[in-house]
Point group: C2
Chain length 297, copies 2
């Protein structure tokens, strides 16, 4: 998949300002909208994830996107395509997982079920923007600090340990938790421009995207990035922290006096991500993501 | 696929009033939302539909759902999963088709692209409900008349004639047109309860759904149902009109003095669809759809 090439073709044809972001902010309707898909044998292996966890994760991915936009996640539609041999038990488990991820404040309101050769899940999520300051990848301002909501690397470590292994890490991979409250607190309290993303594609990917779309340098102190000591069992644990995906934490650039989050760096003039003295360009980050974890699609 | 069994399992787990309809009406946000998917070898064969038409149809199906709810279709997200061997030309054609179906008033605002074995398309559509009287399948009232927006049977006839054959019928199948204006006129002008659906799964399916969900009898005069004479080339042309899907016309029950549409019958006390004197129950209609056109999934 040449996803980036395709997205630029699509942008050209549709000529829409919305294409390319995780969420579309529809100001006239006061909502944010996202859609994300999970495909069997591309995003997951059926024998390595239980139907409950698959439902849970499909929904959580989208809740995280809405939360990271600063919107309040409210409604989801779930489209499910299934092979003939799937039974009602699978459906029951899958939707129970969806429901658990929704919690008390988010509702699944529709979708469809169709046949297919493999399992295919596409979820659309809608959030409310009322009384929220919606974020942008291009909103980082020099002088702001860079904060994260929690540990990185656990999900990628958990993936390596599947189906068994350190329970905490495996759970971080199979049942990640969207940082809804953390993100809401930022969008309700920060005034003016700021940048926010979830780290679904890895911390460096998010940092690099914010840096390049905002035209700034993010000066990051690696030692300040929180992680779980358990991941040190892998020789490349530092890469898991930086390039491993699916932790679904929040990274944001906020004013210095914003009281929450774990500070990992500062927004400065320049371009790219500075880590331990070295500046990583967009191309270098993409190459490293490719080398460590294969092509994201 | 045991779609109906699965939907009842899902309804039980999610316990949501929205599940089961084509569209969810979110009153707090003043929007309607629908999601529909098209899967290669289930809903289409790659060699029988051009990428342009596939894009066109994926979008039109969802625009039709929103229109049939009475909402004003405004925004779409498109999720596309593609095998490795698909190139940028396919993407270009596909999205050009999407854009044509959108016309000037509807915009594609997001979605995603992922890898897969087969082509899988899932579209989510959002419409505005401001100054509209949103329809319901259960809104038919005795004394109302049953109207349709246009001819039925052409799309099913066109499908049989693929890849070549009567151009008009093939086009009706490959490039159906959602009846946005027809439906808008109803939702803007009819006061009080009424029922409206599109005929994506066939005219009888829509009539039977409205009849059973409203608890009424729809007394239909077959002779009044408009169709294209060209379909008489098939022995079972009457079945194409009644059970053939994908015409994407509108069927609605409206007050007798509503001035538009083609009247095909009347809403009466009772239950089911009465056609040429015989009453068809829900089960009979489902059995006939199955016998004529296989299981819909």
């Amino acid at each position: 998949m040449k996803e980036k090439e395709f997205i630029s073709v699509i942008k050209n044809i549709l000529n829409s300002k919305y294409i390319g972001d995780d969420c579309a902010y529809l100001k006239d309707l006061c909502i944010v909208v996202s859609q994300d898909s999970l495909v069997e044998d591309v995003h997951f292996k059926k024998n390595l994830i239980a139907p409950f966890q698959l439902g849970y994760k499909s929904v959580m991915v989208n809740i995280s996107d809405i939360a990271a936009s600063g919107g309040k996640p409210l409604y989801l539609t779930v489209s499910l395509s299934l092979p003939e041999n799937i039974d009602a038990d699978f459906i029951k488990e899958f939707y129970s997982g969806c429901k658990k991820a929704c919690g008390d404040n988010i509702e699944i309101i529709g979708g469809d079920i169709t046949g297919s050769d493999k399992i295919y899940i596409s979820v659309c999520a809608i959030g409310k923007t009322h009384e929220r300051n919606i974020s942008s990848r291009s909103g980082a301002l020099t002088g702001q600090k860079v904060i994260v909501s929690g540990v990185h690397g656990s999900s990628a470590a958990g993936l390596r340990l599947l189906p068994n292994g350190c329970e905490k890490l495996v759970k971080a991979h199979l049942e990640p938790k969207a940082q809804v409250e953390f993100a809401a607190n930022i969008s309700k309290n920060v005034e003016g421009k700021y940048a926010m993303m979830d780290t679904s594609d890895g911390l460096m990917d998010a940092l690099s995207t914010i840096a390049n779309e905002s035209g700034v340098l993010l000066d990051i102190d690696f030692k300040k990035i929180p992680y779980d000591k358990e991941i040190e069992q892998f020789d490349d644990w530092k890469d898991l922290i930086l390039y491993g995906g699916e932790d679904y934490q929040i990274v944001a650039t906020v004013p210095q006096d914003y009281p929450k989050g774990i500070e990992i760096g500062t927004v400065k003039e320049g371009l790219g991500v500075k880590l331990n003295g070295k500046i990583y360009t967009k191309e270098e980050v993409e190459k490293r993501i490719y080398n460590h974890f294969g092509v994201k699609s």
